[in-house]
Symmetry: C2
Amino acid sequence: MQSGETLTKLPQIIEAATRCFQDKGYVATTLNDIAEAVNLQKPTLYHYVKNKNELLFLVLKNTAESYNQALEAVVASPLNPRDKLDRAIRQHIHLQLEHPGTVTLFRDVGELDRGYRLEIRQALKRYRELLQDIIRQGIEAGRFRPADPSMAALFVLGAVNFVHRWYREEGPRSIPEIAEFYSQTLLQSLSQS
Amino acid sequence: MQSGETLTKLPQIIEAATRCFQDKGYVATTLNDIAEAVNLQKPTLYHYVKNKNELLFLVLKNTAESYNQALEAVVASPLNPRDKLDRAIRQHIHLQLEHPGTVTLFRDVGELDRGYRLEIRQALKRYRELLQDIIRQGIEAGRFRPADPSMAALFVLGAVNFVHRWYREEGPRSIPEIAEFYSQTLLQSLSQS
């Protein structure tokens, strides 16, 4: 992965791998399937990645990083904790429902080789901790009721991460409507009553 | 599954299958593994079940039915809608954390043969509808704020179903503490503000 050409093709390969994993499942997908999907010979694919496991790792890492960067931007903003949580929830719902397929692949994190698995778990932990920090600041500022910020963050994550399981593009609710409901309901759940 | 003897051994077989599926995963488990775990010859196992797929179905069906029966009892109770939801959330958390392994196996619902799959999905839908009815009654009684009862039920389910993913028996929070937090937080999230 040194040359310019190599770098330019990797995103396409990752995208093709994402689609193959979504369509056939990680276990059933072969490197041949992925090579065919990007019109490369399998030996050429090996210039880019070591094996299928590295590809799953790259797919999950890209996704986790985009979520973390989005949440870091909210944390760094001048908003108050309540508005930070509002924005965090809305953008989480948007990210998830606009790219529902990649989220599903986190189910396969157990298939990753140990080093990869630890790195992905670390990235997921980072996201949880950022969310937890927003909640802790909201409690300290008296905007949220006193609660265990760690359990509150897990509560929020459980609620928002389930959305891609039931959302249908052709369903009765739009993504902004869902984001509005989740933000309003979660903010009320943590607010001073 | 006609004779008395057959019926008495089936629960043991289901229990052994549950453990094997949890330990090795559904795909990697063989009927031999399950036969060994209950000290039966594989041909004897065939007196009880047709194949591994039927066993996964029976495991999931038993679990889904126990959740549905518990929720039906709450619905039939003389409690008001708010107290019904309180009890429903607490018992859901208890059921889940006292038997965390069976919940995990619902990930494999896609492995079921079509007829089995539809029956399990129907049972899960029944649970969601019972929860939705409690929420709708709470809205009609003015105890919960006006909201889409179907999305509210999915919201509650997402939050409570994530708990087994992070709960550890040796962790800092007891099951009653978690049930208390989830019930209080979810009731506040839906209440009239």
